[in-house]
Symmetry: C3
Subunit: 211 residues, 3 copies
């Protein structure tokens, strides 16, 4: 089981790094910028989680191959995307799998350290989405996940299901799997049908506009 | 006394979160983005303070109701501001109270851990203003407090008064209160009369312009 | 030797702070903003390094004169640059020296704590460049070092040379010096002949454009 999670985790790291590298390419960054943005996207969420909880050494110092894979995936994207057309849709699917798995890993670690369901839920969402937020800040954009089709919300929903699984089903493997797959299912449905959360529209005078 | 500080602290958390949620609304974020920006504004300063000093568990993991109140205040802002006109001026007053109190709490914690007045002053200002800086970065703006009427400067001035109170008046309650109220008074005066610090104007060639 | 490093370190802190203050001036920030951006530029890299490794107390709490010098250099820049024309080129030269030295200090600390060359290299680059990245984020720019003439790459190259010096030459002073001077030499050559890394150009549809 743990081995499966480790392998899926590395797939998630690579997927997030590729997504970050493509975003950096859209901003005309050089090789170094692309690798940094790729690594930050892939490792930023887990890093913030470990720093917020004071869980040292942080995961990619304890297991540096996480860093190597993120850097390698970003560098390969840099060189390959110059010669092939990219398939952003397939990246989105792998990214959705990474989101689901990172949420699980973050919840587990947050709950294991504090024994608080609330902190587990927060750390699940932080691990899933913080890397993408920092990516967009480095690319000088308003973070996409604050405005895009249901993304972080699927992570939050799944983290709450995970808390219920841990609380009422004794970490039962089926309940945990259902929670993780629900993140994937919601995210894929949101991509497929372009589902969105309600948006808060204030104009510059602070009054709500017609939008 | 400590109970009073705790209650005032929660009022400050709610005020900062409302201010963050309104800023997010101006950027057309969805419910999740509004809640995240609200929480970051309210909790970011104290989080950075605790991480910089390695003071674990950080305050909102030790006392998760801080997080709940920030999230709740931002969510209520999201739903209520759609149906009522907001009164930004009243938020500014509560925000000023939060700034004064957060500076006090940050100074106390920084000084208690390091026994250094300089670190106490830095941590007071960090606790007071860092949340607002991260809010503006997430909203893709140059942080307002770097350019607005005296804001951070009032926090810095009050933190220096606090250091003097601790050094020469033995943490006397009256001296501490005067320090905290001076932050509030300066901030309210700056709002009322639109007072500003001198601004540094360089044009793109690095030469000072006429402005 | 350690005394020489300490003195050079303080020169690097001052140079980075001046560079940050000038960037803040170009954004019309007030005195407080200029000092904060100066301090973040000068101390941000080392702070991130210490937080990532959980190395508490972080360096400018252990040695507050680092903070004082950064704040003083930024404040002097604020007042002096109003009356004199600045010489950005001389700042770039001192900045290059700071980059070389910060890379060395970061590598040493990262390697000393983890005994891993890979972490040493990462921490060398983080210490050298992270401050400048945060400076550009606060100024609402895409970080310059992701696009400018070889900057971070010279830090990365020097950090790899440092790892080789530690591994194969037993921390020999000459090998270490060559590594540090190679950073300086590459950076100065990049400034002189405007050398750049290859850039990754994707247009908004995710396809590589002609550029």
């Amino acid at each position: 089981m743990q081995e499966l999670v480790d392998i899926l985790n590395l797939i998630g790291v690579a997927a997030f790094s590729i997504a970050g590298a493509l975003a950096a390419g859209r901003k005309h960054m050089d090789l170094f910028g692309v690798v940094v943005v790729g690594c930050v996207t892939a490792l930023g969420g887990g890093t913030l989680r470990d720093v917020l909880m004071g869980s040292y050494p942080i995961f990619w110092i304890a297991a540096p191959h996480n860093f190597m894979i993120a850097a390698l995936a970003a560098a390969c994207t840099f060189f390959l995307a110059r010669h092939r057309s990219t398939a952003p849709r397939s990246v989105m699917y792998v990214d959705a799998a990474g989101l689901a798995l990172f949420t699980l890993i973050g919840f587990q670690k947050g709950y294991a350290i504090t024994q608080l369901y609330s902190v587990g839920i927060i750390m699940g969402v932080v691990t899933g989405v913080a890397g993408g937020i920092v990516r967009d800040v480095l690319c000088n954009e308003i973070p996409l996940i604050f405005r895009r089709e249901i993304y972080a919300s699927s992570s939050l929903f799944g983290a709450i299901l995970l808390a219920l699984s841990f609380r009422f089903f004794d970490e039962n493997i089926i309940a945990v799997s259902i929670s993780v797959f629900s993140i994937l299912a919601i995210r894929l449905a949101a991509i497929r049908w372009k589902l969105s959360m309600p948006v808060f529209v204030l104009d510059d005078e602070g009054r709500e506009s017609a939008g």
